[in-house]
Amino acid sequence: MKELSTRERMQIPRQAMPVRDPAERRRDFEEVALGLTPELAEREAMRCILCKRPPCIEGCPVRVRIDQFIPLVASGDLAGAARMLAEDNALPAVCGRVCPQETQCEELCVLGRKGLPVAIGALERYVADWAREHGAGRQAPTAPTGHRIAVVGAGPAGLTCASDLARLGHEVTIFEALHEPGGVLAYGIPRFRLPRDIVGAEIRALTDLGVEIVTDAVIGMAESIDDLLAGGYDAVFVGVGAGLPRFLDVPGEDLVGVYSANEFLTRVNLMKAHQAGAATPVIDLDGARVAVFGGGNTAVDAARTAVRLGAAEVAMLYRRTRAEMPARAEEVEHALEEGVLLTEQVAPVELTGTDGRLEGVRLLRMEQGEPDESGRRRPVEIPGSEFDLPIDLAVVAIGNAPNPILRRTTADLEHTKWGTLVADPDTGETRKPGVWAGGDIVTGGATVILAMGAGRRAAQAIHRHLTAKNDLEAG
């Protein structure tokens, strides 16, 4: 392959990832985005101008060596690229699919200043998928250190922390409350965005490293954190996520047909309600009218899931405008292509029904007011603008509060007034000796890659702590 000049590289247009036709994909749960072909991937990889001090890496919380793995893709050394990626990222095929790259690595890519950034996420997905299909990029365990670490929660934060610690030779056990590991990757993000065999394969890579995953174990209800510390674990990492769903606090929320997004998505994703014969159903959506409240990734996922379950009409109802939706732009785009309607600047005042079943929602129109603390303009009600919408199902996707179980059962873990855990942002260290924390339980609902970054930093801090302890004991 001939060497390209920077100029030539910059002339290659960004290669788009093929996606399935909306008309076809909106009735099944197969993956929407198809991934780059080898030709597309090589071409895209050639766009990277191999910056001397690559800013993109600064945008990646786990510090993937973007400037090094991309040239390996360009030169066709996929095995080399896979090896490198596996060292930097415990869940590359997941991140390549669900990372909000546009606000992470790609936002800082120099090419983005004048044109479009390198499609780093798509290339990461390409390498990770190749590695999985070819059994490449496997990590080998190192010599055991004799230290034991307990990780609470098998979401992205816990999985990453466990992977890094295991590769440093520590003996790691993950305790997970549900019957399956993955956290939001298992119960939240739908399989048409993140196929479950991919999550399964990346978790298997972890158990191949020697990490033990104990499911059906709710720490705080069964063992407490103190039990773990007293029972032979040298350190505990807490990555229990943000669980408790928020509701709208309007009349009618107890009607049959009103779900939290967590329940709706869990029934479909974890409990497979979309399959014929599944034991955990959602109410029949065939021909139904569905309203989803919220504007984040969760709301978009719920809306697209409702479409796939046969709903006749699915509307996302959002208090602000489309430009202010926290959901990834690409996902909103995909949802609209699939027929999801977006109604901006409305807020529910009441859910209505008869015989305890949901039949409609009364909405109020909103307009933009003064900016609030977040800098976004506060939605203000327009008096007298009420109108009614008939609906059969409502999904409430307005965020989660932190899960209360550990807070209630571990007296000396310090929490903020919002219920999140207090931990050092650089190290994950909590105020309780021997306990580190990271992910949504510390930040509130955030992203997969931020949770992973926190897991990684905590793993390094735990390793430093244990090594220092060794030195002390030896010296």
């Binding site: 209800m221 069964a222 669980g243 107890d254 869990t266 034991a279 109410i283 179980i405």
Partner: protein, 276 residues
């Protein structure tokens, strides 16, 4: 996988299972429950832990076959296995020296109330257990209740054992004849509501163990939400025991009927969701 050490019928349609679940057995307190998944494709259902042996690592469940999953569980034989048992979940019942406590169990609700009754007796209370059942054959745990030192009153609908009628009859009599400091009830929703009404005028503190539909049991899904005193509570992390005088029983009853059509179809076809 969790081994089933013993399966035996205890009443028509009611089965007692002893299961090896060391983590649950070690940490369980009366009033807490587990979530069980019979097999890899199964749904997650909540069941009260009736008894636990922490040393042996065993727990006891008593399950009434009301639908697809409870029937499947009842059919797991001695020596069989079930996929998941997670717990203990929920807040333990309040166990204090209250004085005289009346514990009311309706049907399989007796299994839910029994561990709390026994713990209350152990904590120095005088405990009268009122067991309601359709017929004499449906009365469960009578010997265990007596062995625990509690007084036992049985009420059957057909009068085939104890007094004839519903549990509220003997409860009213007890309240009239004796001082009752606290009432605890578990059973069908109409029964719990009737108990709440019975004790409301005398303002006797009354707790009910609610049984909403659950998925995760850890506060994540919000499916188990109930109204208590006008506030939204999640039964799995805030309960399952709540102040009976504040519970919205109508709301609970409606929400528990959400999947009725699916369940009927599933049961008829002996498939979880044949309706689809």
């Amino acid at each position: 996988m969790f081994s089933v050490l013993d399966t035996r019928p205890v009443a028509p349609g009611v089965t007692r299972l002893e299961i090896a679940a060391p983590r649950v057995a070690r940490f369980w307190k009366p009033g807490q429950f587990v979530i069980v998944r019979v097999d890899g494709e199964g749904e997650r259902i909540p069941l009260t832990v009736v008894d636990a042996d922490p040393a042996a690592g065993h727990i006891t469940l008593i399950v009434q076959a009301v639908g697809y999953t409870t029937r499947r569980l009842s059919q797991v034989p001695t020596g069989g296995e079930i996929a998941d048992v997670v717990g203990p979940l929920g807040r333990p019942s309040e166990i204090e020296a209250f004085g005289h406590v009346a514990v009311v169990g309706g049907g399989v609700g007796t299994a839910v109330a029994f561990p709390t009754a026994r713990a209350l007796q152990g904590a120095g209370n005088r405990v009268t257990v009122i067991v309601g059942a359709r017929t004499a054959a449906h009365v469960i745990l009578a010997d265990e209740i007596r062995d625990a030192g509690c007084d036992l009153i049985v009420a059957t609908e057909d009068g085939s054992a104890g007094v004839k009628g519903l549990v509220t009859g003997p409860l009213e009599e007890l309240i009239e004849a004796d001082i009752v400091d606290r009432v605890i009830a578990a059973g069908p929703i109409p029964m719990m509501r009737a108990v709440a009404e019975t004790t409301r005028s005398g303002a006797i503190p009354t707790m009910v163990s609610l049984n909403p539909i659950m998925v995760d049991g850890t506060g994540m899904c919000g499916g188990c939400r109930v109204r208590v005193g006008g506030e939204m509570k999640f039964a799995c992390v805030d309960g399952p025991d709540f102040d009976a005088h504040l519970v919205d029983f109508d709301g609970l009853a409606r929400r528990n009927r959400t999947y009725l059509e699916f369940e009927r179809a599933a049961l008829e076809a002996d498939m979880p969701m044949a309706a689809r």
